[in-house]
Structure formats: C-alpha cells, structure tokens
Amino acid sequence: MPTKSGTYWVTWADTNATNSSSVDDLIDPFKTSARAFIKALENAGAKVDVTATKRSEKRAYLFHWSWMIAQGRCKASDVSQTSGVDIQWDHGSDAASRQGAAEMVAGFGLAIPPTSVNPPSLTSNHISAKAIDMNITWTGTLNVKRKDGTDGRT
C-alpha cells in the first residue's frame, strides 16, 4: 500500500535511504585508487576527513521528484515509481500533490535558487559510487609520494 508524499518520507529517507561517507561503499577501481590516495596523503602528514562517498539512489529519487512536483515542473501523475520506494506522489489534485511534495522539499532542506530549472540530480558519480568528497588539512609543505614513489610537493 503506497504512502502519500509528505513529511513521512523525510523520516523514512533518513533511516532507509542514507548517504555514505565510507570508502568501503565505493566501487572498484575507483575505491582502490581513492584508498591509495588517502593513504599517501596521511603518510605525508595530512589529515583527511571523508565527508561523502556513495549517495543513495532512493534518496536522490525523493529529492528530485519532490523538487519537480513542488515547483510545478511536472505532474505528480507523470512520475514513475522506483524500486523500494512505495510512495504515492499523486494525491488526486495538483494542489494537494504539490503540498505533499513541498513538505518534503522543506524537510530535506532543498534549496530553490531563483529561476533555477535544475532539480537535484537523479544520477551522478556519487550516486554510482565513483566520487568522494573530503577535507584535507595540513601545515607547511605537503610531500605526497606519487604512485611511482617520487616526491610531489604541494
């Protein structure tokens, strides 16, 4: 039995469609390369804080379509379902459907830049587990070894 769009889905996503900041959730060969790069940074004395790796496809689906419907850029009845997210976008009227979607936009904290036509993406390297965000801090000069063992100064 589908559940109508609304704040319920914000809570649901925070439990069932979370993003990862673990390198383990990336896919090879990118994962192996990312690990090697982080190790080289740490060996050189840098502090590495990984903030994002794989982003949830289900979460992206909820972000994208709630934004689209709330902005009136598509009809709720036109949205396709996705596996594992039993959501009912169409509340029976445009106003009610937009209201449900708007609750999700607010709950997810989605930004709506003026004149923006670009919703949150359905696909990206993060969603396909081939991207990593990290904060790297160090003091002085960082000598990170290249893959071939030679020095590279930053």
Partner: protein, 193 residues
C-alpha cells in the same frame, strides 16, 4: 518607499548609483561590527532563517541587511536572534552538509526577519545602516555593489562584486555545500569558494 520596491531596486541593479553609505551611516550600536571590519566577518549567506558567517561573536539583536536572491532581487532587514547548531533552523547543518559547511569556519545564527518577510536564499550584511533603496555599498567606496548566486555541482556559490559580476575577484564570496548533486550553472564554471 517600501524595502521591496522593485522599481528602485531595478534601478540599482540595472545601473549602480554612486552612494556614500560609509560617510552617511550613523555609528553602529556597540554590539555590531563597524563598517570598516573585514568583509569576511560582516557578510554571509542565508538559507531560510539561518545566517552563515565567518564570525563567531555576533551578539543578539545585531541588524542584518539582506539581499534576497530572487528575481528581481530585493532588500529586507532582520535581527540576529542567537547562534545555533540546530539543523531544524539551519538546513546547512543537516547531516549530509554539516561537515563541509562547518569546515569552512562558519558560525550559524538564527535570524528574525522584519515585517513578516521570509528568505529562501540571500546574502546578509552586518553593520550597514541602509534600507538598500539606492543600492548597497559593502566596502564604503561609493559604488553600489552587485550580488550574485549560482549553482555549482553540489552547492551554491554567492558573490559580492564591485564591478561586473564574474570578472576579476569578488569583494566577498561564500559557498553553501548542499550535499546533493545538481547541475552547475555558474558562468564559466566559476566557483568562488
């Protein structure tokens, strides 16, 4: 005139008018940074009622002049309520965003808008005594400045420019990490972080 008068705002957006805010501004209250303080500590960005700025010592009741990044832009005012770490107040502190936004050295403040206004995205300036009706001059050089926002692949880039936007270096720039992917539309791929 009202603070949101589009006719006058369109005038200052279309062609900056020389103004001398610094020369005319009254002395700010004791708890507000002076106009001459570094721009980095006086200018920040807003998402909703949350003001993010590289200044951890703003006092309650400090007044903000806010440029709403709507089309057309408009100017409103708000008061700082208090510093906050709540993601209910600050979307920038939601779990997917907190680490990156906090790592920039930003402090986050809940604000109260005047006249029951609201803001989706905006740039806030501390310590200016102006309603923005003739433009906003953040550095006191007599020129009205330009305010911009554009999307990067994972966030929003804000800027304040002394001349033509996206040419040369901005007077101030800020970056809001959204923690989700979107399509970048910053001119020339510019990301002012």
């Amino acid at each position: 005139m009202t603070n949101t008068s589009t006719s006058r705002l369109a005038r200052w957006l279309a062609g900056p008018i020389l103004i001398g805010i610094a020369a005319c501004a009254p002395t700010p209250p004791h708890n507000q940074p002076a106009v001459g303080a570094p721009l980095e500590s006086r200018i920040g960005w807003l998402h909703g009622a949350c003001f993010a700025v590289k200044n951890n010592s703003l006092q309650p009741d400090v007044t903000l002049v806010i440029v709403k990044m709507d089309e057309p832009q408009s100017v409103i005012q708000a008061n700082v309520l208090d510093q906050t770490v709540s993601d209910k107040v600050c979307p920038a502190l939601l779990p997917d965003r907190k680490a990156t936004n906090s790592a920039q050295g930003l402090s986050f403040y809940e604000v109260s808008f005047h006249d029951q206004q609201s803001v989706e995205l905006g740039i806030g300036i501390v310590g200016l005594a102006t309603d923005g009706s003739t433009g906003i001059d953040v550095n006191g050089d007599g020129k009205a400045d330009r305010f911009t926002q554009c999307a990067t692949s994972e966030g929003i880039s804000f800027g304040v420019w002394n001349g033509t936007p996206y040419q040369g270096r901005p007077l101030w720039s800020g970056y809001y990490h959204l923690g989700y992917d979107t399509r970048a539309n910053c001119p020339g791929g510019a990301v002012q972080r």
